[in-house]
């Protein structure tokens, strides 16, 4: 009986339910308002179901529960009846101020920002890719500059260099050493940007005095047949002599970018080349290769990188 009564009650609004119960109990609205400490206007609004007069659904539910308890109704049933009629989601804004942007424009702005960032990332990537290509090109142009500078060498010095080469070939370096030191020290200075002082000249000439005999012992060792012979040995005024203490890859090109030496050479091998300076030299195992340029030992140790390779140009004065 009671259940069916409640079911029929739940069909009617919460306010009506409460009013009926209050009248049945013979209570006045002012009496209940005083007992519950609720503003009488709010209770009247509830009874007439004008919930908009109350600030928030939270308060409406609170009043409904209290009212239901006061007139001995089930608070949950009353609240349920209210929720069925209207339960707007509680509104809460971060700012009570005026909203200048509509959410749509905000969303658009977010998309614009996202696509802008994507574009920037793409451009940066592109520049990086191009920049990576450009670096080796820059290195090549340096070599080109060296090549362009080299042919300006004076013919007189060139003649002297030729003489010294001949002297070196004839295994008598002691005779002409002082002039040779003077001539060969100069090209090294131009080849190496970090020019060394003139006081180092004597030590270099000392080393030339000491080293040639040993080199000539090496020279007697027969060359291995497996080493690839240079495709065409260009004839020229300048001479390079290489002797290997260990296996090394060697690549030497002359002024016309012609390959004088290209391939892997074995321990103990020696090579003599003639061509036109400047020479572009690449040594795969630089510490193991002794280089003589126009009869004068060339110190390649400054060009040796961490991986033992060395790349340098040999330029006559």
């Amino acid at each position: 009986m009671k259940n069916s009564e409640q079911a029929s009650e739940s069909q009617v609004g919460a306010g009506e339910m409460l009013r009926e119960a209050r009248e049945k109990a013979g209570l006045g609205i002012a009496e209940i308002a005083a007992r519950l400490h609720i503003n009488q206007a709010y209770l009247e609004a509830i009874e007439t179901q004008q919930y908009a007069k109350i600030a928030s659904p939270t308060f409406v539910k609170g009043y409904l529960r209290a009212y239901a308890k006061a007139v001995e109704l089930d608070p949950d049933a009353v609240v349920k009846a209210y929720v069925r009629v209207s339960d707007p989601l509680p509104e809460w804004r971060a700012h009570a101020g005026i909203q200048l942007e509509t959410p749509d424009t905000r969303r658009q702005m977010i998309w614009i920002a996202v696509s802008g960032v994507a574009l920037i990332v793409l451009l940066v990537g592109l520049f990086w890719w191009l920049g990576r290509d450009a670096t080796p090109r820059g290195a090549v142009s340096e070599n080109e500059i060296l090549e362009r500078v080299a042919p300006v060498a004076q013919p007189a010095v060139l003649q002297a260099a030729l003489e010294t080469t001949n002297v070196a070939m004839s295994d008598q370096p002691e005779v002409d050493l002082p002039p040779k030191a003077a001539t060969t020290a100069a090209p090294q200075q131009t080849a190496e940007p970090e020019a060394e002082g003139p006081e180092t000249f004597p030590t270099e000439s000392d080393s030339t005095q000491a080293s040639p005999p040993s080199q000539h012992e090496n020279h007697a060792v027969p060359q291995e047949p497996s080493t690839p012979a240079p495709a065409s040995v260009a004839n020229g005024p300048d001479a390079i002599k290489l002797s290997l203490k260990a296996d090394s890859w060697i690549d030497i090109r002359d002024a016309n970018d012609q390959k004088l030496l290209h391939g892997l050479y074995r321990t103990g091998a020696t090579r003599e080349l003639k061509g036109t300076a400047p020479f572009q030299v690449f040594l795969g195992n630089a510490p193991a290769v002794q280089v003589e340029f126009n009869g004068k030992p060339f110190d390649a140790s400054k060009f040796v990188k961490d991986n033992k390779t060395a790349r340098f140009a040999l330029i006559r004065p």
Partner: protein, 348 residues
């Protein structure tokens, strides 16, 4: 910008790091975790030796008061603030991991943690660092009553005063808010824990029987009330008789529980009264017109609303689902941070 892109894939968390329970709300998923803030630690080689976490959450709570010598079950938060920094961090870490699996596409979440408004700068920093240490990408702190009001659905953005009383496990916070700001707030270190302690003390004094915390909590939940009701409720409990030293069963009724809670309840009522005294008159009249909203687990104590209402002469109502008000409010604030930026937060 990249962060906000990452944010699309990660789920933000709102954490109510309470003395009694920790709740986590995940945006778009609702409340994903509700566990007691208890950690049990295994110390096999004595107190100075290596420590390892044995259990966290409800499984650890079952161990409270029932552990052997090499395991201790502790509550790392006391009075709403961190009492044991490392353990809190471990607990948070466990909870966050449980609800948020980090991966390449789902980086660590942004976390909003609710702090008691009475928390000092040092305590706030401890909470912030615990959350950061537990793997949060960004930590926001918000004062609990603010989150509670938003979670309860009170329109605090209007230029109208609202009062919220949030009774947690360790603290009770009373705050008056208007225009999204806190006008007055106070925090008293009285909460559910204090109620339990009061019940334990009362039973020891009057019955000479010692009961545990879990039993006291059960008494409070089942027959605890704040205002003398019409019907008398009774509960049968077991405890250790102090003089005989053996377990005894006895019965306690709701009036006795009410008597034991008097002192703690008076503390909360006087906090509300002094808050009303110090509230600017315009806001006080708004509060008198609309009423006070109760949130937090303490709001579930029977007739607490009636007690405060009788004491202050203002209507008091309990919010819907008072236990989760704070964490739901935190979740709503996280949404607002996304829409508006974090500037409107009272505590950064």
């Amino acid at each position: 910008m990249l962060r906000s892109l990452f944010g699309m894939f990660s789920n933000d968390l709102s954490i109510d790091l309470g003395t009694a329970n920790t709740l986590i709300y995940m945006r778009g998923k609702g409340i994903v975790l509700d566990e007691p803030s208890v950690v049990s630690i295994r110390m096999d080689r004595g107190p100075g030796g290596p420590r390892s976490i044995e259990a966290v959450g409800s499984s650890a709570k079952q161990m409270l008061g029932r552990t052997p010598e090499n395991i201790v079950a502790i509550r790392p938060l006391k009075d709403g603030v961190i009492a044991d920094f490392t353990t809190t961090e471990k607990m948070l870490q466990y909870f966050i991991r449980k609800v948020h699996r980090s991966s390449l596409l789902r980086p660590s979440p942004r976390v909003l943690v609710c702090v008691p408004c009475g928390a000092t700068q040092v305590e706030r920093r401890a909470i912030r660092e615990s959350a950061a240490g537990a793997g949060a990408r960004k930590v926001y702190l918000i004062e609990e009553p603010m989150a509670a009001a938003i979670g309860a659905g009170i329109p605090i953005d209007a230029a109208v005063g609202s009062m919220v009383l949030d009774i947690g496990g360790g603290t009770s916070e009373v705050a008056v808010m208007s225009l999204n700001g806190i006008v007055y707030s106070d925090s008293v270190r009285i909460g559910g824990d204090r109620f339990d302690e009061a019940i334990i003390n009362y039973i020891r004094r009057n019955y000479g029987i010692l009961i545990g915390e879990a039993t006291a909590e059960r008494i409070k939940h089942e027959i605890g009330s704040a205002y003398p009701g019409k019907d008398l409720l009774e509960i049968e409990v077991r405890g250790r008789n102090l003089s005989e030293g053996v377990p005894r069963t006895f019965t306690i009724n709701s009036n006795e529980v009410l008597e034991s809670l008097q002192e703690s309840l008076y503390g909360i009522v006087s906090a509300v009264k002094s808050a009303l005294e110090r509230t600017p008159p315009e806001l006080a009249s708004d509060i008198a017109d609309r009423g006070i909203v109760l949130t937090g687990g303490g709001a579930l104590l029977r007739d607490l609303d009636k007690l405060i209402s009788e004491e202050t002469g203002i209507h008091v109502m309990v919010a819907d689902d008072p236990l989760t008000c704070v964490v739901r409010g935190g979740g709503r604030i996280l949404e607002m941070i996304d829409e508006r930026g974090p500037e409107f937060l009272a505590t950064e």
